[in-house]
């Protein structure tokens, strides 16, 4: 198990085992790691530990959280890393290394609490990881795929016309001139260059030509395909 060693002005104050999924660091006494110093915010940072890996996250502290000298928001921790919170230094110690033996078989985390199956030795992992997984998946991201979107033409003969993107793959443009497609993926909507006709011009997003990779679309992006401008909206 990983540990952290806390020191102030070079003197070691104490050591904590990272035995909880989340450990908060701060000046108030309700923190798991309580640092009574005015340079420390009331809830300054937290360390999340998942199996063998730990992560540091700054909790919008006044003076910031530094990792090996750099101001950070979120980072993975590696053995020997030094976190600085106010005047305190916190050394992360994790002797477990990624040796060949750790190259374990792929495991399935069963996140369906109703049908949780116990497989050899994995029960605890299922539970602890399943819980964290539920926590992180319940937050914002990953839901854009369900969101409806439309485009509105803002130039050309059909200016003002709207098209609801009801299909997962919608093609746009003029054959022989320029054809593009908008595709809905689990991670959001993307513009794809399909065919440039005789010229090598590519469709544009906010006046920049897109590359060969699918280009992610944001609300209010202005697209230009075959010389026609249109705005992309979420509904």
């Amino acid at each position: 198990m990983a540990t952290i060693r806390i020191s102030l002005n070079g003197e070691v104050e104490n050591e904590h085992q990272l035995d909880k999924e989340t450990m908060t660091i701060g000046r108030k006494s309700d923190n798991d790691i309580h640092l009574d110093n005015l340079a420390v915010s009331s809830h300054h940072a937290k360390i999340t530990t998942i199996l063998n890996d730990s992560f540091i996250e700054d909790l919008n502290s006044t003076n910031g959280t530094y990792l090996n000298g750099s101001l950070i928001k979120k980072n993975t921790l590696f053995n020997g890393d030094v976190i600085k919170v106010g005047k305190h230094e916190i050394k992360y110690i994790n002797k477990e290394t990624n040796s060949d033996n750790d190259f374990e078989k792929t495991m399935i985390i069963n996140t369906d609490s109703a049908g949780l199956q116990e497989t050899e030795g994995s029960k605890e992992i299922d539970q602890s990881v399943g819980k964290i997984f539920a926590e992180i998946t319940s937050s914002d991201s990953g839901k854009t795929s369900q969101q409806k979107a439309k485009i509105r033409l803002v130039s050309g003969a059909n200016s003002g016309k709207e098209l609801h993107l009801t299909k997962v793959l919608t093609t746009l443009g003029k054959p022989g001139v320029q054809v593009a497609a908008i595709t809905r993926r689990p991670t959001g909507y993307f513009l794809i260059h399909v065919d440039g006709g005789d010229n090598s011009e590519r469709p544009k997003v906010n006046d920049e030509q897109i590359g060969s990779k699918a280009h992610p679309l944001k609300n209010n992006d202005v697209l230009e395909v075959a010389g026609v401008k249109m705005t992309f909206f979420f509904e």
Binding site: E104, G115, K167, P175, R184
Partner: protein, 275 residues
């Protein structure tokens, strides 16, 4: 209409250097432009059973449903093509078969499998996947990962805890958050895109991507672009030379000619302002 002369398909599955059996399964049908790859896990012999059921069941299912589809139709409720809907259903059916088999035989308890399916039709593709087997596309000499792993690691990358490079070094790399056959129901990620002549598609189990980097995959594809069989062999060889700790499977598909369902496809497919 057969796609045999329009899309070249290859596939190799290999035990690797450490494991004594192969839990991956692959299958393809060149006439339909269909590729299926599965990486099984769990149980005693469960992994190889789960991946074999998945691949067989999906191919069987699609052999019945695909011929009945008129190209160019969309499912009104979801916006997906009917081809995509058939693939999703085939994976869900396979899920239930594996789940049921696991419930009825204690040797198979807890087994599951990843799956990635690629289908070419009407100058388009559908990619369906569950788990951490991947699909990459090489277009204009640039490699793009089209699927997003269903792993704890990917969730953490998405939330900014890791960079992709750090993720490669993480200890938690082998935790799959979604698999076929583990629960009675499964969510399938579906993706539709346009296929272009010259595109090169790569399906693989994590035995490839845990061993070699995306950069090396890209280099190999560029070096062997004119010979798909050699490209496939080289990818397997490199995975083994870089450790070969897991079973490794790679399937490739290269588009050599357009494959419209009807001729004059551009005039047909453009949904807006073509006049």
């Amino acid at each position: 209409m057969s796609l045999k002369d329009k899309i070249i398909i290859t596939g190799i599955t290999d035990e690797g250097l450490v494991r004594d059996h192969n839990e991956d399964s692959i299958a393809s049908n060149a006439d339909w432009g269909l590729l299926v790859l599965a990486d099984g896990m769990g149980g005693h012999k469960g992994g190889e059973v789960a991946s074999a059921i998945a691949v067989d069941s999906i191919i069987q299912d699609l052999s019945k449903t695909l011929p009945l589809i008129t190209p160019g139709n969309t499912d009104e409720k979801t916006g997906y093509s009917l081809e995509s809907m058939s693939i999703e259903k085939a994976i869900k059916d396979a899920n239930l078969k594996i789940y049921t088999a696991a419930q009825n035989n204690s040797n198979y308890e807890g087994m599951g499998t990843t799956v990635v399916v690629l289908l070419f039709y009407d100058n388009r593709i559908t990619i369906a996947h569950v788990g951490d087997s991947r699909l990459y596309r090489m277009r204009d000499r640039i490699l793009e990962q089209m699927t997003r792993d269903h792993t704890l690691l990917q969730e953490l990358v998405d939330r900014g805890f890791y960079t992709r490079k750090e993720a490669r070094e993480s200890l938690n790399k082998n935790l799959v958050t979604r698999a076929v056959g583990v629960n009675p129901l499964v969510d399938v990620d579906l993706l539709e895109d346009i296929a272009l002549v010259g595109d090169n598609y790569l399906l693989c189990s994590d035995g490839l991507t845990d061993m070699i980097t995306d950069d090396l995959i890209e280099d190999i594809q560029l070096n062997y672009h004119d010979n798909l069989n050699k490209m496939n062999k080289e990818l397997i060889k490199q995975a083994k030379e870089h450790g070969g700790k897991d079973n490794v499977s790679v399937m490739l598909a290269q588009v050599i000619k357009e494959f419209p369902a009807n001729s004059g496809w551009f005039s047909k497919i453009v949904d807006i302002f073509s006049n």
